[in-house]
Symmetry: C2
Subunit: 97 residues, 2 copies
C-alpha cells in the first residue's frame, strides 16, 4: 500500500471531501462550495486525492465529477485491521448474506 494514501488522509479538508463523496458523485464546484477556501486550494486537494487513487474523476461538459474509489479505501481498512492484530484475509461484508 502506498504512503500517499495515508498522507492524503492526514488532512481534514480531504477527509471531509471523501465523506461528502460517500453520498455519491459530485462536481468540483459542488464540493468547493462547502469549504471556506479558494478554488485553486480545493483543486489542489482533489489532485492529492486523485494521486493517491482515493477518488476517480471524469469530465462532463464544463464540470469535473469526482467519486470515491472504494478499492483503495478497502486497502486502508485492511491495513488497519491487520495492525489491530486480527488475522485478517479481507474486510468483512456489511451484509453477510
Amino acid at each position: 500500500m502506498n504512503n500517499e494514501v495515508f498522507k492524503a488522509l492526514a488532512d481534514p479538508t480531504r477527509r471531509e471531501i471523501l465523506r461528502l463523496l460517500g453520498r455519491g458523485e459530485q462536481s468540483a464546484g459542488q464540493l468547493a462550495q462547502r469549504f471556506d477556501m479558494t478554488k485553486p486550494s480545493m483543486s489542489h486537494h482533489f489532485s492529492v486525492l486523485k494521486q493517491a487513487e482515493l477518488v476517480h474523476s471524469r469530465r462532463e461538459g464544463q464540470q469535473i465529477l469526482y467519486s470515491l474509489n472504494t478499492t483503495v479505501l478497502e486497502d486502508v481498512l485492511t491495513w488497519l485491521w491487520d495492525a489491530f492484530g486480527h488475522d485478517t484475509k479481507a474486510v468483512p461484508s456489511r451484509k453477510p448474506s
Copy 2:
C-alpha cells in the same frame, strides 16, 4: 475523532511501529532497534503516537513499554467504514458466527 490520529498514521515509520506493536507490548529500545534512525527520532515518533492516543506506555525499570491502544484504532476503522458509504454503527466482527 481527532486530526492528530490521522497525522500520526501519515508517517511510514509510525505505521510500522504500530504493526510491530500488533504482536504485543515492546520496549522503546526493542522497537528502535528495528529502524535505521537515532533514538531521539524514534522517541519523537513514540511521542506523536502517544499524543494521538494510538499507543499506551508504562515504565518498567529503566525501560518504557509501549502497547497498542486498540480503541482509537477502532475509531479510525469506523470512520473509514462510514466514508465508504456503508451505514455502519460499528465495525463488524471478523468471525460472523
